[in-house]
Amino acid sequence: MNSIDFEFVSGLLRRRAGIVLTADKTYLLESRLAPLARKEGLNSIDDLLQVVRARRDERLITALVDVMTTNETFFFRDKTPFELMADVVMPKMLEENRQNLRIWCAACSTGQEPYSLAMMLDDNPRLTGGRPVEIVATDISTRVLEKAKAGLYSQFEVQRGLPIQMLMKYFHQKDDLWQLSDRIRSKVTFKEFNLMEEPRAFGQFDVIFCRNVLIYFDAATKSKVLDNLSRIMRPNSYLLLGAAETVIGVTKKFEATKERRGLYQLTSQAASGAIRAA
């Protein structure tokens, strides 16, 4: 792929999805665009980009952004965030006697993260004290959301991170695949959402999972996304980021909690702003 084509595609991805793609990722671009070109009945990546340039076909541009967003995920990924939920966040919510708990998984990919939360809360009723919990899960990619809603996973996927007791309790076999029970699926609401946009329509949240997505954004986009999240947090709420992500040097709205790594809360300055805005 020549540098003009690379600039064209990386510019498109930056504008549409906030994704920063450096020239050393040309191989990634080529490996993902080649199958898309074939699927569209085109002979090469060159042809694909010509069609995109010439027609500005929205469906094709969406498909292109879609294949370039990274969707790697698995059940109970990294374990720590789920331990933080069980050990710190949920006890705090109960202590404050918070009602109508709302959790947002802000880049849910094929659904493993919100479903892991739903299974964990269902499996440990003491965590919620019987309170209903609403889990909203969003992603930019319609393709991954369809899979997430179906709750159908391959044998490979259900063996990464999912304890066998959870598989036995919450899944059933459907041909070669494993499907989550209707009960767990009904606990998660999936919606399409681009993190570059204003999230206020989703309402306010007690917990936001925004993991392994900021790493793909440039500094300005990271800061903007965290600003947006800060405005839809209920007081004393929690933000969970990915293991390789931080708020240091990115935003003044959030700070790490003292007790545990990977867990963030609004700074006092941002919290007073949030209360005024609400």
Binding site: Q155, Q159, R160, G161, P163, I164, Q165, L167, M168, Q173
Partner: protein, 121 residues
């Protein structure tokens, strides 16, 4: 170093599993059926057993039940690793004392994930 006994009648599967487990810093040994595995455990009880289901002489589930009746046989963590991939086999394995269950085909990520699940890595 934790010791893992690999029980499978396929030499190829044992070799693949051995390589993965050695990368995870296990001291490994091998058995080709349940009877060999039981002899091995009586002589030298391992910390973990990676266990195939269908084998000649003694199959995996019979081995597991016998192991759990042995003195000290409740200690090893047993992870099934089999092409039997339906819920009734999984349930029977767990009921009989297995700690985890891998459905073949497997790769290093699945082994690592499942061994982490039961606190072996």
């Amino acid at each position: 170093m934790k010791r893992c006994l690999i029980v499978d009648d396929s030499r190829v599967v044992r070799k693949v599993a051995r390589r993965i487990l050695e990368d995870l810093k296990f001291d490994t040994s091998e058995a080709a059926d349940g009877a060999q595995a039981l002899d091995h455990c009586r002589a030298d009880m391992p910390d973990a057993v990676l266990l195939d289901w269908n084998m000649p002489v003694m199959n995996g589930i019979d081995f597991l039940r016998a192991l759990r009746r042995e003195p000290g046989g409740e200690r090893p963590i047993v992870v099934f690793c089999t092409t039997e991939n339906d819920m009734s086999h999984i349930a029977e394995a767990i009921r009989s004392g297995a700690n985890e269950y891998i459905m073949k085909p497997f790769d290093s990520e699945i082994i690592e994930s499942k061994f982490a699940e039961v606190g072996l890595v």
